[in-house]
Symmetry: D3
Subunit: 136 residues, 6 copies
């Protein structure tokens, strides 16, 4: 009996869509106002979903308090009230698009979970734009 357990979280951050190896002109053509060198920001809303068997003893797939703590350690403490481009090492050479942020969060979370559990990351950059990543 595979059940998926989902937990929401959020963090606020500044970012800029930008490649250091491109000219400012090319960055502007591709990323438009998202390339603002003074940064802009978002309230990122995150939904972390974990799929696995229900433990017959507890009735849990995973204890939600444990999942909440991993999200806090791996994502909220690392990203909240930060400048993603300047202060989060994963984006030193990786453009912080919503797609790339979701993939980074996936790998940070995956390494802390029981390998039998499947993981899905959903990240809202705004209430109207979001991305989903389930690994490969």
């Amino acid at each position: 009996m595979n059940v998926t357990v989902s937990r929401s979280a959020h963090f606020n951050a500044a970012h800029r869509l930008h490649r250091k190896d491109w000219s400012f002109k090319k960055n502007n053509e591709i990323f438009g106002k998202c390339n603002n060198p003074n940064f802009h920001g978002h309230n990122y809303e995150l939904v972390v979903s974990v799929t696995g068997e229900i433990d017959k003893e507890t009735g849990y797939v995973i204890d939600m308090k444990i999942l909440k703590d991993i999200i806090k350690n791996e994502v909220e403490d690392a990203f909240d009230h930060k400048n993603l481009n300047l202060e989060v090492p994963e984006f030193k050479d990786l453009n912080p698009t919503a797609e790339n942020i979701a993939v980074v969060i996936y790998h940070k979370m995956k390494s802390k979970l029981n390998p039998n559990l499947k993981l899905e990351i959903q990240l809202y950059e705004t209430p109207r734009n979001f991305v989903t990543y389930k690994g490969n």
Copy 2:
């Protein structure tokens, strides 16, 4: 042409996470404040999703009024304003975690639907915690 049709519903209930065959101490270690012997409660939000072929005559996968009535009979009338541990027979010996409630709702709903239709149950215990069950 398989389409999924989803309908939301809700019910309010009291519950307690607890196993009768465990000591109070063990229940407390595992379930913390969710083991409060005086119960606590939730506004459970439910999304029932049914997948099947569009009927060429009606343009429906399932008449939403029929789906709404099955949810009312099987879930709302059975769970709303109830104490899940004390008053809902399915949880007499089953810990009413969100995972287990979703599985119980799945089986109650499945038995009333055309067997050609696939079913998915999504249950929000709070706006930030939810589970999803699609059968096996």
Copy 3:
């Protein structure tokens, strides 16, 4: 690395559930008050999801501005503030159920996207009723 990118949009429209080749009595039996000959209406909320590889250059699956423009051209400009039965050619002989509207939107959007991208359409007819179509 397949990632799904989703974008929300909305449109307001009038419609009536009705088949021209059925009697009024039969339409009423099947579609009830949704068959009102003077029409009723909805704020349709749409979520368009596109799945594909992250482009290594840009970090995008698809530029959200491009996706937003396709939704505007194919869906918002075609359906917003319209009477679906009388003014949208796709529903001249097709009953505008939520299921059928989602399939129509799917085909309009699919024809404008890179064929390597998978597409999913989610359409809320009301906040509590919605349908999902992913093609075949």
Copy 4:
């Protein structure tokens, strides 16, 4: 101890912004695509708020079940799945703007409530546009 009690409800309807005593040209200049002669429609979300003293016996300002029933009789049964211009007598000669619909709902509700209770009507025409009327 004055407390406000609020209850949400909704109805779906078709309408057209239009004055019979104006030319089509003038209607179009003022109301644009909202003047579509074939109508468009909305999921109207309604919040009815009633302010008064807490009854010392019951702890209620008003029994929510009673408020729910008045909303059903006065608003949902009268407006849901209707064409406001053609089928709701209050709009026979009154343009069904959100402002005017809120005022009509206010007067329908007010006549059924204890005159000691203050009333406020909030009506969402779309998730982003809404109006509020509190009487004079």
Copy 5:
């Protein structure tokens, strides 16, 4: 320059609408299924609003971290995962209707805030039912 600063919070609790000094029959007539002796429960959503002058030094009416901490101490720690009737002293002889809970929260919060600040409490018992209290 008076500005209102609002902060949301939530707590889950069990309750029962009931007066000890009434017969079970009378309690049932007035409170219906809300009088279930085994309790039912809710996810209460709370919005605390504080109105006052903007401090010219900080640009704050009140530091949101301070407001958040008062809400945690006075409301969340006192009510969350509790049975309101049995475990919260304020409801020992007071029926825990949404109206009465809002008044209790108002007085608990008011005593911890600078007396120059106006306070408003909004409490959602369900997503569709809520109450508002501003003091007298």
Copy 6:
């Protein structure tokens, strides 16, 4: 017949809570992680409410398209994808707290509206924190 008409909008921006005339140490004591010199950011959600008489001709308090355009010109074009501290002149010497941003938006909007209309600005910095300003 005074009715209030409300319109939602949003903008994404980076900011930092900071006073140039304070030491870094004092800024950190008061503003904590909000003083991050590399900035953080938000999806600001804005609700602009305008109160006045219903125009007997049109049934409008204000044409929503006109209100939408003023919001776009005065707020969205000025603040969206900007760094509030570095790029928005109103915050050159004013700390961009939610309170101060709401007051700035109020004055920008007020100057473009008919002086007979009352104005209220509600600004969500996150889904759980918001401020309201109605002028003096």
